[in-house]
């Protein structure tokens, strides 16, 4: 017993140094070589940092493409989903309200055209992406609010579609980067 305890104590101390310190420091050293230096890749627009490439943000006005509903209001100090069950009546009411509000802001859209991701909260509350369908459906509203021709906004959306893993993975559009490009569109 005493011998086991002594071995345990010494082995624990050495392994804490190896696994808790040396290993993460090695990875941090590798991370220094990546974009963002291992502290997250920042996005710059008009000379100021406006966010992180991977972290979604809230867009509320008609002038911007909007991302998904978020249970933490896109404050990445924390993260969280709604954790609402599929049969929860309060939750279904909430989705209904989101649909109604979306239809008011996008009068040209039919209810059946709204893709589910625009009225359901993401898992992390920080989802940076929407699907191409989620962007196309907002083109008319954004173009009208900015008095831009619809075709040029639509082309901008097309340019921002990502097709990862040779097209096998879901297609995504990074909402922040789309909106930055939108601001630059004349």
């Amino acid at each position: 017993m005493k011998k086991n305890l002594l071995i345990s104590l010494r082995l624990t101390i050495v392994l804490i140094i190896l696994l808790g310190l040396a290993y993460p420091l090695l990875i941090a050293a590798v991370g220094k070589l990546t974009p963002g230096g291992g502290n997250g890749e920042k996005v710059v627009a008009n000379g100021r940092v406006v966010g992180y490439k991977q972290i979604g943000q809230s867009f509320t006005g008609d002038r911007y493409f909007q991302g998904r509903p978020s249970a933490v209001n896109y404050n990445a100090a924390g993260s969280g989903g709604s954790n609402k069950g599929p049969s929860n009546p309060d939750y279904l009411q909430q989705v209904k309200d989101r649909i109604d509000s979306f239809l008011i802001h996008n009068p040209a859209v039919q209810r059946s055209e709204i893709p589910a991701e625009l009225v359901t909260a993401s898992g992390s509350g920080l989802d940076p992406d929407i699907s191409p369908a989620g962007a196309y459906i907002q083109v008319k509203r954004v173009a009208a609010a900015r008095q831009l021709p619809e075709t040029s906004v639509r082309q901008l959306v097309e340019k921002h579609i990502m097709k990862p893993m040779a097209g096998l993975a879901p297609e995504t559009i990074n909402v922040l980067q789309l909106n930055i490009a939108l601001d630059q569109l004349k």
Binding site: G31, N39, F59
Partner: protein, 572 residues
């Protein structure tokens, strides 16, 4: 959609392609044969010398378990103390406070037992120091403990008659230096390159494009996320685990994390074949487990990709499937596969919020954890399967009227009693505690506790019951995922799940090691035409049937009250 399903199949195939050679390598490592990682030998000798370990000293099953339990006890005390005082220690750029004693009790046990039930959020509940020196450290050593215990069992099965199950310290150290650490370095580098933070800067404050001020949590997460998957731990750096865009930045990292969590459990099955030289047995076990996995994956994926019937009734299209609690970059197909893999393998990391899964998907997640032996956790999955095999051997023996045998050793009353106790224990822990919690919610909702029982649940009705059932099932399976709507950071949940965790970890390890220790002591009986061959397909099917029957008898009533009732209420 077809593309997404093909991507999932590709992910699984890549896992197999890597797991087979890894299994061969693992067998060579523990047998002490030449491998490509022999450059680690000086490091191992250094660890042995500093710690005073004689790696060649044989151990019988009792000595083995004593060594294992002693060091585990020490880790528990160390982890709990660190978590309570973390607020006053360095490497805390966000100024997070120490954990309350009941939360520290739960967290320390949870990571010690490879479960990683997290009743805190990583952004606010830990400091960088405890994330690394406590959490990451425990994720390595708890996985290595499971692997060492499994190799002890292999040793008992390998030899005709032996007292020696192998030296715990040597098996444990090699699990770290030869398997976990090298694989983790590869995985962590790939994550860091794809954008997972690895630096030590604290929370950042930014002004967004439309002018809001928000904060962004960061930290040296990449290394921890690698071991969280390779060690089938599952506890995340950030609150939402691998749904968080820093923890799992894109589809490639999603595949990588899926491969990493399945890799070692599958490799250990192949390793069994190479190590004890029974490849046919390994193939049969692998097949039974894979069929079991498919029985869970297919209904789950169908339910998730066809979308929520309740949302469809609101007139909304769900071309990609059910999206509540899911991330666009993964989509429902990959999220469905993940939710099954993480529950059968006892990882418990998530890339979507299971609380928002469709009822059928939730059912398969619960079943995965209840069975807990389709691949299963690092080392311990095969130990759980061995328990089912003992029961199957016993039942088959009764049917043909012979004394049951396992690989040349008589299985007698003592071994069957241990196996039966381990099996019954999990059903007892899950149902008794869920009943207690449900009783509190129903009859004492206004109890003046830290959080009133009436406020525990995030969803009403059947789904609320599922939240409680899931929590104890996850604790009992040492899984760690949750229906996270449950308000679980309060003394009731911290303490009750803490006890479930510790019982459900160590008894299922002690049981199989003891059984094999006892068996290996017995006289070896050479195979004869009357021997029950465990490496036959018939016996594989019997084992599968035993798994289904035991779990159906144990859990069907509870499942009927939760996900099944919810399913039927939704289709009307």
């Amino acid at each position: 959609m077809t593309g997404e399903i093909m991507a999932v199949i590709a992910t699984f195939l890549v896992t197999l392609l890597l797991a087979y050679p890894l299994g061969r390598y693992v067998a060579r490592v523990y047998a002490g044969q030449k491998t490509i990682t022999d450059f680690m030998a000086p490091l191992e000798r250094l660890l042995y010398r500093i710690s005073g370990i004689d790696p060649l000293q044989p151990m019988n099953w009792k000595q083995f378990l004593k060594a294992m339990l002693t060091i585990n006890m020490l880790w528990l005390v160390y982890a709990m103390l660190m978590l309570i005082v973390q607020g006053k220690l360095p490497l805390n750029p966000d100024g997070n406070p120490g954990q309350t004693p009941d939360l520290a009790f739960n967290t320390a046990i949870s990571f010690l037992v490879n479960c990683n039930l997290q009743h805190y959020s990583g952004e606010t509940g830990l400091t960088y120091l405890t994330q690394l020196l406590v959490i990451t450290f425990l994720q390595f050593v708890s996985a290595a403990t499971g692997l060492a215990a499994l190799i002890a069992v292999f040793n008992g099965l390998k030899h005709r008659t032996t007292q020696n199950l192998g030296n715990f310290w040597m098996l444990f150290v090699r699990s770290v230096t030869r398997i976990l650490l090298p694989l983790c370095i590869i995985g962590a580098v790939l994550l860091a390159v794809n954008g997972t933070p690895s630096g030590f800067e604290g929370k950042d404050t930014i002004t967004t494009l439309q002018g809001d001020t928000v904060q962004v949590s960061r930290g040296p997460a990449a290394g921890m996320i690698a071991i969280k998957h390779l060690g089938t731990n599952g506890g995340g750096w950030f609150g939402t685990n691998s749904a968080h865009p820093f923890e799992n930045p894109n589809y490639f990292t999603g595949m990588l994390e899926l491969v990493m969590q399945v890799l070692i459990p599958v490799a250990m099955i192949f390793a069994l074949g190479f190590y004890i030289n029974r490849r046919r047995l390994a193939l049969i076990i692998f097949t039974v487990m894979t069929v079991g996995m498919l029985c869970l994956v297919i209904p789950n994926m169908l339910a998730e990709t066809s979308g929520s019937p309740a949302i469809a009734q609101l007139g909304i299209q769900q071309p990609t499937g059910a999206m509540e609690g899911k991330e666009v970059r993964f989509g429902p197909a990959a999220s469905a596969y993940w939710s099954v893999v993480t529950t059968i393998i006892s990882t418990g990391s998530v890339n979507s919020m299971h609380d928002s899964s469709m009822p059928v998907a939730g059912l398969t997640q619960l079943l995965g954890m209840m069975i807990n032996a389709f691949y299963g956790g690092c080392g311990v999955g095969l130990l759980n399967y061995l328990i089912y095999m003992i029961i199957a051997v016993f039942i088959s023996g009764l049917m043909v009227g012979r004394t049951p045998e396992l690989l040349g050793h008589k299985v007698e009353a003592r071994e069957v009693k241990i196996a039966a106790l381990v099996t019954l224990l999990s059903a007892f822990l899950v149902k008794a505690f869920t009943a207690l919690a449900a009783y509190m919610v129903a009859h004492h909702p206004d109890m003046a506790w830290a959080v009133k029982p009436g406020n525990w649940l995030n969803n009403p009705s059947y789904h609320g019951f599922s939240e409680m059932l899931y929590e104890y099932t996850s604790a009992n399976a040492n899984n760690g995922s949750g229906f996270e709507g449950l308000g679980d950071n309060n003394p009731f949940w911290n303490i009750t799940t803490g006890f479930v965790l510790i019982l459900a970890r160590f008894l299922p390890i002690i049981g199989p090691v003891a059984i094999v220790g006892l068996l290996a002591n017995k006289k070896f009986i050479p195979e004869s035409p009357g021997t029950l061959r465990v490496d036959s397909w018939t016996f594989g099917m019997v084992t599968f049937a035993v798994i289904i029957i035991i779990n159906a008898l144990s859990f069907f009533p509870a499942l009927a009250l939760g996900p099944l009732a919810e399913y039927f209420s939704m289709i009307k």
